[in-house]
């Protein structure tokens, strides 16, 4: 009889679902429909494999991280499970490089002290101290980059970004969390078109996702729209232009939102430009990262333009 382990305790489910079993043991798991539809009882297997049926309807990025629905999960083997917010371990990492990529965005390279597993596009918590941390997206790709790469925008009065900019130097050791987030590339459907829209340092996860997709042999169009207020906000431009030269299916469109036409830039809000250029997104995969209002509007607009909800991945800052 398979056992499930949760919070250091092990239970036998018998004929019950994981949800019924945990609830009977007095463990409180949020749930609603009880039939594998509403996704309220989403949990994550940290050890062992859950039956495919317990992942029906989940986004591919969630299934890839072993998320499952407790109410329809009848384990066939021993599993250890957690609720989505648990599992935050701290890891030491050494700063191997820190430099400005433009006037306000710092590129930081980190070497974790232990093996670090992540997907390009996920984010980590970066700790200043016990009580203060910020989330930063990873711009690196596990298969391509030795170090973890972050793009940190120096916020006016920012507790963490200010400290990073003023105090941290190469060679320093910092604490980070494990990677999390479900905004990443899942191999498969290589011919699917991909639209990516980002503002500011929201380029970081997109830069990782694009290189990950290309490294996986993605053949569909990959169209990146990066928005900033003015031309001064762009960075990684040479790298992106080089990717464009090497991969005919990749295009990079920088957009400025301030008034006045500037050669080489599209003028307008980045999601307006992207959706105007690509009015039908039926069958596309869409990645949205950056300013939360932009992400919210673009998510809705992409969906109304035909993208399926399961194909829209968003990471609002």
């Amino acid at each position: 009889m398979p056992k499930i382990t949760y919070g250091g305790q092990s239970f036998e489910c018998g004929e019950q679902s994981v949800l019924e079993c945990l609830t009977a043991q007095g463990v409180s798991v949020p749930h609603s429909c009880g039939s594998g539809v509403c996704q309220t009882c989403k949990m994550q297997a940290v050890q062992g494999t859950v039956p495919v049926a317990a992942q029906a309807g989940l986004k591919p990025t969630l299934a890839a991280q072993n998320y499952f629905l407790a109410c329809v999960c009848h384990p066939q083997e021993d599993i250890e499970i957690a609720l989505p917010e648990q599992k935050i371990a701290r890891i030491e990492a050494k700063i191997s490089g820190i430099e400005y990529l433009n006037a306000e965005i710092l590129g930081i390279r980190l070497k974790p002290a232990q093996p670090f597993s992540y997907r390009a596009g996920q984010f980590i918590n970066f700790y200043k101290d016990e009580a203060t941390s910020r989330c930063y997206s990873l711009a690196s790709v596990p298969a391509l980059d030795h170090d973890l790469l972050l793009n940190v925008r120096k916020m006016p009065g920012g507790h963490v970004s200010g400290w990073i900019a003023e105090s941290l130097r190469a060679g320093d050791t910092v604490n980070i969390s494990e990677a999390s987030g479900d905004c990443f590339y899942v191999p498969g459907y290589a011919a699917q078109d991909i639209l990516l829209i980002g503002t500011g340092s929201g380029l970081a996860p997109l830069y990782g996702i694009i290189r990950d997709a290309l490294a996986n042999g993605h053949t569909g169009r990959i169209k990146l729209y990066h928005g900033n207020y003015s031309a001064a906000g762009f960075y990684l431009v040479d790298e992106l232009r080089k990717l464009e030269r090497n991969h005919p299916n990749f295009t990079y469109v920088p957009c400025v939102s301030e008034q006045g036409a500037q050669a080489g830039y599209e003028q307008g809000m980045v999601h307006d430009v992207a959706l105007r250029d690509n009015p039908s997104l039926s069958g596309w995969r869409v990645f949205l990262c950056g300013h939360s209002e932009m992400v919210k509007a673009a998510k809705r607009e992409s969906y109304l333009s035909g993208a399926a909800i399961k194909d829209i991945y968003a990471d609002p800052f």
């Binding site: 429909c33 039939s35 539809v37 309807g57 809705r300 109304l304």
Partner: protein
């Protein structure tokens, strides 16, 4: 054979949910009720509702329906809005080439939730 099986089961619900919710968000009569809601969570709820309408497995009770819509009733949710949703369900199933007799059965199940949804 049950309606749920005839209509195509979970695959049919998955196909219907994107089309249905897109129609709802584009429908000026009712779209304002969805302003600011999380799209992923809302789509999961729409899926649960369509599963119910298609006679599929669900554990929703009338009380759940009342509780889930009470805040919208307070904002003016009424029969005209419910009618608009019914129209969108019909149009979605028509678009998916579901036979008329099955559409009528699904519509009847959806219709049966009207009193609870509207808190009557």
């Amino acid at each position: 054979m049950s309606l749920y099986t005839d209509i195509g089961g979970e695959a049919a619900v998955n196909a219907a949910v994107d089309i249905f919710y897109r129609k709802v968000l584009k429908d000026a009569r009712i779209s304002h009720f969805f302003a600011g809601v999380d799209m992923d969570q809302q789509a999961a709820k729409q899926k649960a509702f369509l599963t119910l309408a298609f006679g599929g497995p669900n554990k929703y009770s009338g009380a759940d329906m009342r509780r889930g819509h009470a805040h919208l009733v307070a904002k003016g949710l009424n029969d005209s809005h419910f009618d608009a949703v019914m129209e969108n369900i019909g149009a979605t199933l028509t678009e998916l080439n579901v036979p008329a007799n099955l559409i009528a059965q699904a519509a009847a199940i959806a219709e049966s939730t009207r009193k609870d949804v509207l808190g009557k």
